[in-house]
């Protein structure tokens, strides 16, 4: 089967306008989402993952954020400047599953009201028909007694159930792209597993392209076909899932892999330090301060891609030019 590019993001830059200053939050991010495939976006909190998601949907307020770059959906540029057009695309062509299901639902409205208002925004149906569509979708998500769930309020449901509802709401229009921002972070581990399994089944069923954001390597490893690692607003490394787990190149990616708990008695390697503050970001590689292989010229590095072979791209001076680097030397 030929892979089809569904969403193509090129040179996405987002900056926060704050007191006459522009603070770069997302810098030169490019990736594409393919039909039925999952791109995993991984990174620590504050690295720009969520902002990337919101900017794809045109959800950043124009007076506070500056967004540049090109996002094409099925070959057509997304109409970010036209409020009405982009609104119609949200929830129908590009759907989103939010981070925290419990606070994402309006506490005063029933689950059914959330569902039907969304359906009736995108489809011309009666309230009753909308209700039927909703019940069918909830059944697909293995929610028992969907009619009862529809009449319940968010606080009466568990996080896992709400997350299923949210996924059902996201998928009823068979969107081209599903953006899932940390969909399982706030859930119990067992529920997490079920939700991921259901997401995978639905992806196969609807052939939806998916952007899965997480800081959890386990989730990414289980779900993603391709992985992009974000740090300080940059995608520092991107490769097919298997490749990146077997052969991580960027020192940050390697640090991430090492800090992952495994079933061994070895001492856990923790990435030391914290991501740089948004305000302080300056020139050079943002990972410089925490990097074990940092060199002086890293501070002058322009963060262009330095190595891209076989779909594996990385932005690090270690891979600039022909210079041979010993992988183990600095790990």
């Amino acid at each position: 089967m030929i892979k089809e590019k569904v969403m193509d993001v090129e040179g996405l830059c987002v900056s926060l306008l704050h007191r006459q200053r522009e603070i770069s939050v997302v810098r030169d991010v490019s990736f594409c989402l393919e039909e039925g495939k999952v791109l995993g976006l991984i990174g620590e909190s504050g690295c720009g993952k969520s902002i990337t998601c919101l900017s794809l949907l045109g959800l950043l307020e124009k007076d506070r954020w500056k967004v540049e770059g090109s996002v094409r959906l099925k070959g057509k540029e997304l109409p970010y400047l036209n409020r009405e057009k982009i609104r119609r695309l949200r929830g129908s062509s590009v759907a989103m599953v939010m981070q925290n299901p419990i606070s994402s639902f309006n506490p005063l409205l029933t689950v059914g009201q959330h569902f039907t208002e969304t359906i009736r925004t995108h489809k011309e149906v009666t309230r009753r028909e909308a209700g039927q569509i909703a019940v069918e979708m909830l059944l697909k998500l293995n929610l028992s007694e969907p009619e009862k769930v529809m009449g319940q309020y968010p606080f009466q449901l568990s996080g896992g159930m709400l997350q299923r509802v949210m996924i059902a709401i996201a998928l009823f229009m068979c969107p081209h792209v599903l953006i899932a921002d940390e969909p399982t972070t706030s859930l119990d581990v067992t529920v997490q597993y079920q939700i991921l399994k259901e997401l995978a089944e639905l992806r196969d069923h609807y052939r939806t392209a998916m952007l899965l954001v997480s800081h959890d390597l386990g989730v990414i490893a289980q779900m993603a076909d391709e992985v992009a690692v974000m740090y300080g607003g940059y995608v520092v490394e991107q490769a097919p899932s298997r490749e990146i787990f077997c052969n991580p190149m960027h020192p940050y990616t390697r640090g991430l892999m090492k800090s992952r708990p495994a079933f061994t008695k070895d001492r856990l390697n923790v990435l030391e330090g914290y991501p740089p503050s948004l305000m302080k970001r300056s020139r050079g590689c943002p990972f410089y301060e925490r990097c074990r292989c940092a060199r002086k010229d890293c501070l002058e590095f322009d963060m262009k891609e330095t190595g891209a072979t076989g779909g594996h791209s990385v932005r690090c001076l270690l891979y600039a030019g022909e210079e041979e680097v010993k992988m183990d030397a600095c790990s």
Partner: protein, 315 residues
């Protein structure tokens, strides 16, 4: 829901007792004792025998707790005693004056909704626009100016200069406009602020972001999601404000010569008509409890978390 209402009643009813007991204690603690006040009010010379007779008649020679419970027992049977001045039953006097004060207050509530709802809403949606600046200027002045002065400004403008409305008194519906507006202005200012900050606060909530991510129209996002949540504190506060407005009518009735409770209580205070004062306080306390209870029920209707309680369903 029923358990919730009972719970609220349990916390509200002590207010009635607290307030009436306090009034009772105050009346019997001060240098001018009720018997003397009665003599003054009825223009009888306070001879020793007359005072003793009055004391015996009103049971003023009994111990204080006993007097209170006698009063309370009668009050529960709707017997609030007789006014010292008019010799009419207090209940009749209150019944006579209360409806017009209630009318005034209800009309003021109408103004409150008419002013605060659109102003608060618009100034939140169009934050930092001209509308917002104007509405904030309005709230600042309306919250800081003495209500009686605002009342006279309104009379000056609408009744005297423009001749649109009657100056004072009670009669047609036109008579109601200025007094109720005067009564409402102060509260309209604070409710505009409350609603504005509530909507702005709610717009920052994750459920608004999610509503927008689902492609809902802006109208729906603000009008349904943000507004409904912002109304909750407004409704809650309103239960309190209703009593305050009813009490605040004292001043407004004075300005507009509106025959209501306010004028009754002002006269009673000047005459030290203690049964009237006691009855007025009891009435206010009951109204206070009822309006708070209504507000509680209203917020339970809006907020399912109160209505249904926190019985979470497991996964």
């Amino acid at each position: 829901m029923r358990a919730y209402i009972i719970k609220r009643l349990i916390s509200l009813v002590p207010v009635v007792f607290g307030i009436t007991i306090l009034t009772f204690i105050l009346i019997h603690m001060v240098p001018v004792d009720p018997a003397h006040a009665y003599m003054t009010a009825t223009n009888t010379p306070p001879t020793e025998r007359a005072v003793a007779a009055v004391r015996a008649e009103f049971g003023l020679d009994r111990p204080l707790p006993e007097q209170y419970f006698t009063w309370l027992g009668k009050a529960l049977r709707l017997d609030l005693g007789k006014s010292y001045v008019s010799q009419e039953p207090v209940l009749e006097e209150l019944k006579h004056s209360f409806p017009s004060t209630l009318l005034l207050t209800l009309a003021a509530v109408g103004w409150l909704i008419l002013l605060a709802l659109p102003l608060g809403f618009l100034s939140a949606v169009f934050k930092d626009s001209i509308v917002d600046h104007l509405s904030r200027a309005f709230t600042f002045v309306a919250a800081s100016a003495p209500p009686f002065w605002l009342g006279f400004l309104l009379i000056e403008l609408f009744a005297l200069k423009l001749g649109l409305l009657p100056v004072m008194g009670k009669g047609s519906w036109q008579h109601l406009i200025l007094p109720s507006l005067t009564l409402a202005l102060n509260y309209a200012a604070s409710y505009t602020r409350l609603l504005r900050s509530g909507i702005l606060e709610n717009l920052k909530q994750p459920f608004i972001l999610y509503a927008r991510a689902r492609g809902l129209k802006q109208k729906l996002v603000i009008g349904k999601h943000a507004l409904k949540n912002a109304l909750l504190p407004v409704v809650n506060a309103f239960g309190m404000s209703f009593g305050y407005m009813l009490a605040g009518s004292v001043i407004v009735e004075n300005i507009f010569a509106w025959p209501g409770l306010g004028r009754l209580i002002t006269e009673s205070i000047f005459n030290r008509d203690y049964p009237m004062i006691q009855g007025y306080v009891a009435l206010m306390a009951v109204v206070f409890v009822l309006s708070n209870l209504l507000a509680d029920i209203a917020s339970a209707i809006i907020d399912p978390r109160i209505r249904i309680g926190d019985d979470r369903v497991g996964v």
